[in-house]
């Protein structure tokens, strides 16, 4: 498989003024995509998978996700909000999902279409594909873009295992636009479909779609910013129209375990937290005899309920999602499947391997560089303190060989060198 290295834009950005150049994000980044240079964090775009761990961990809130402003609604004649089910878990004592959905209409949307509605069609298609038996096992879910990006930079041999099906929000966005065109008679470009997102990775996906030529989503609004608008509006609602038609299963996708609960067959496994996912994927690459049919992997601990753009504590939100989903299940709503064909729900574009690790095009030169890395590394203190601005001593050695850093940047070795100079002078 040939690596594809066209530049990728990312949604995770840095507010330089707020960044103090500490090592919090540096040490936490699962793909070693952060360096501290000139006292500020720097994200290496080629390595970033948009998981949002740095956003969560930054004590100074210097890391943000570049989402779209609410004013973007003005660009379209008709606007539809597509809330991730995680939104329902953000509120204290929420009696019914319909409060939130009516609230979205009150703050300026013309219509709402629940992202949870996209899940049913995806579950049906997944079951069909699993039954056909053509997918490589273990099949890995495609709902979390951070997981797909992780695979595309670190686990090329698992690319063929990814479920080639759109994410629920994409299915919902496609269906929402289709319905709106029929309802309003407007052309598709005049309809704004805005995802209310707990997720930084999903924001990147609108610019750089995964598996699709173009994203069906017009813009991504951060859940935090919508929450701030929604909260005052909820208190002022005069009537609550029944809007929600999503299912218990659909809402449950907001938390880890939701997707495989809906599948309810075969040997399925759920894994959450990006580090847990990395160690599981390492094992899948190595162990031929793991007998697993399907893996639900969500980068955030607990699932999207603890996405980087949420307001509420992820565990609290998870508990509420369980309650809300149950309440929704009790309503016994008729199942109203979305009107999309299997073809529309299936990826048209392959996921490409982005090898950002290789040291040189020329194998012999790459070997030499590898030896240099080992030589430099042996001389470093190997305590991974991070003060040089690279996350580990090994990584500094690599950065030096790649020309991104100087050996001088190790303060421990510098101190040693100064001491020996001093001794010579004495």
């Amino acid at each position: 498989m040939e690596p594809n290295n066209t530049p990728l834009s990312h949604s995770v950005t840095l507010d330089k003024a707020k960044c103090k150049g500490c090592t919090a994000c540096l040490k936490r980044c699962p793909t070693e995509a952060i360096r501290i240079r000139d006292g500020k964090a720097k994200i290496l775009q080629d390595l970033c998978i948009d998981c949002g761990e740095c956003i969560k961990v930054c004590p100074y809130h210097a890391k943000q996700a570049a989402t779209d402003p609410f004013e973007d609604l003005q660009k379209y004649k008709y606007n539809i909000a597509v809330p991730a089910p995680t939104l329902y878990g953000q509120f204290h004592n929420l009696k019914d999902i319909d409060y939130v959905l009516n609230g979205l209409l009150a703050i300026g949307f013309d219509d709402v279409y629940e992202a949870a509605k996209g899940t049913e069609a995806i579950t049906d298609l997944t079951l069909k594909l699993l039954a056909e038996g053509k997918l490589e096992k273990p099949v890995i879910n495609s709902a979390c873009p951070a997981v797909i990006r992780l695979i595309s930079v670190r686990f090329p041999s698992l690319i063929s295992h990814i479920l080639p099906v759109v994410a629920p929000v994409e299915a919902a966005a496609m269906a929402a636009r289709k319905e709106a065109v029929e309802k309003t008679g407007l052309s598709p470009e005049d309809i704004g479909v805005f995802f209310i997102s707990p997720c930084a990775a999903k924001a990147t996906t609108v610019q750089n779609p995964l598996g699709l030529k173009a994203s069906p989503i017009s813009g991504v609004l951060s859940m935090k910013s919508v929450y701030m608008k929604l909260l005052p509006a909820l208190g002022k609602l005069s009537e609550i129209k029944p809007i929600s038609t999503s299912s218990l299963e659909g809402i449950s996708w907001a938390r880890i375990g939701g997707e495989i609960k809906a599948l309810s067959r075969g040997k399925c496994l759920s894994v959450d937290g990006i580090d847990n996912i990395i160690s599981l994927f390492e094992e899948i690459e190595d162990d031929e005899n793991l007998d697993i049919d399907f893996i639900e992997a969500l980068s955030c601990t607990g699932g999207c309920v603890s996405g980087p753009l949420t307001v509420e504590n992820g565990y609290v939100a998870k508990m509420r999602i369980v309650e809300i989903a149950k309440a929704q299940g009790k309503k016994d709503l008729p199942r109203t499947p979305i009107d999309l064909t299997d073809e529309e729900l299936t990826w048209s574009e392959p996921i490409k391997y982005r090898n950002n690790m290789y040291l040189d095009e020329d194998f012999a030169v790459a070997m030499q560089k590898l030896e240099q890395i080992e030589t430099i590394y042996r001389d470093l203190p190997q305590i991974d303190c991070g003060s040089c601005g690279s996350p580990t001593c090994k990584c500094l050695a690599e950065d030096i060989v790649r020309g991104y850093a100087d050996e001088i940047e190790c303060i421990h070795n510098l101190r040693k060198r100064l001491q020996s100079l001093q001794q010579e002078a004495e």
Binding site: S157, D286, E288, N289, L359, M367, Q368, L370
Partner: protein
Amino acid sequence: MPNVKLHYDIDGNDFTVAGQASSNLKKVLKQLGVSTEVIRKAAISMYEGEINTVIHGKGGAADVEISTDKLIITFTDHGPGIKDISQAMQEGFSTATDEARELGFGAGMGLPNMKKYSDALNISSVLGEGTTVEIIIHLT
């Protein structure tokens, strides 16, 4: 001829660290730009070899030598040795303990998989002294 050597100590008392050498080797091979296919072969052999060295060999070491055309991985231990090598190579043959089986090892598939995914596999073993398993994988 450039050539890279890697050495991994394999702790005989800890199952849970198995996989670390494999993970490190995979990274190195990606840095060298080796094909995904070869990385997968190397990963499987490395992992199975690592585990055998822990659970059967009571610990030892793995040495990797990468040259322009091939990869040689050598596992060495000073464990009990293998009584009958051709029997050990059979699919499904295993002397794994109940403890190891509980952790999912002992299907008797490790050595057969190493053979399947490598271009050459040589075992030398002396009862009571130890075992050396050498694997060769061509890079192109």
